[in-house]
Symmetry: C3
Subunit: 137 residues, 3 copies
Amino acid sequence: MAVNVSIEDRIAIEQLVTEYAYRLDHQRWEEVADLCTDDAVLFIRGREIVGQEGLADWAARRAERPNRRTQHQMTLLRLDGVSADEVHGTAALVLHIAKTGGGGTYVDLIGEYRDEYVREQGGWKFRRRRLVPLDAY
Amino acid sequence: MAVNVSIEDRIAIEQLVTEYAYRLDHQRWEEVADLCTDDAVLFIRGREIVGQEGLADWAARRAERPNRRTQHQMTLLRLDGVSADEVHGTAALVLHIAKTGGGGTYVDLIGEYRDEYVREQGGWKFRRRRLVPLDAY
Amino acid sequence: MAVNVSIEDRIAIEQLVTEYAYRLDHQRWEEVADLCTDDAVLFIRGREIVGQEGLADWAARRAERPNRRTQHQMTLLRLDGVSADEVHGTAALVLHIAKTGGGGTYVDLIGEYRDEYVREQGGWKFRRRRLVPLDAY
């Protein structure tokens, strides 16, 4: 029984997905945790990031590599309503990375995030994100 | 005389365009026909696919190549209302393909779909899709 | 004090950003000026384009290179309301170019536009666009 997702909620979730990418690409890793619930779990490239503590650790590790410049292109947001306050969905990622020591970029990864979004007092947040590479669709 | 496209219709058509890409990329080719009218015609890379029968044939041929992994990135949806139940539009495509026998992807095609969308009882569907490559804009 | 951006305004600005890319990619450079205020300033790849006169000059120069085929992929629209009639925002760009003398494309530039949008009688327009490359985020 799919629940309809209102336009307001759709756009709020689209903004959430955009904001996640924006913060990564602008090296504001420590602010990604604000987009996630306290019990969030992210499965990203073989790593499992658990809760606010896990997100803080992950952000600290990321900050050690400031030269890695990324552009997370997000498209194809596809949502399924579960309840008034829970939506599941997928969002396609093309991850571009700037080459070091010169110009140009390359595509590092293509895949999709399989997400669970929940509404909390402050708005929509990620409760789960699992990044699945294209060859594992 | 352009007809205004409501936000509800815009988002429904955006979801239709997303769903088409999603089903291709998840190898659910036989479900693409559900997104098309009975008299739909698709012009894709030199091939003309006509109606539900044509779509069934096309899906069967596609299913013979399950190793071809694709990501259809859709952006730049641009709509022109024709009537309350008909919208024409374009949607830009960047088609990524996973390289076989190893990692990585490459861009196989860039172009735009030139579409006709019509509202039927079950919602918005494709009546026409013509994929035009970038060098033929 | 951020001002809420209504869904109607968000979608209108999204269409503005799409239309800018569409006109560039369809070589309708002289129509880009219609998307900009009379006092608009665009900072694009080391060039400063000022006002309607500057836009006309820029369009004329662009028209001298009709063989340069582009696809401006726009994603990650992120908006901050400033007032009822002014919104600031960013929009990520991946610029694809068709190779000359054969097939294929390459990514020429990745970056983001940092924009100021204002509402005029005819709708939303660009007052400022600054294209910032990925390595200068």
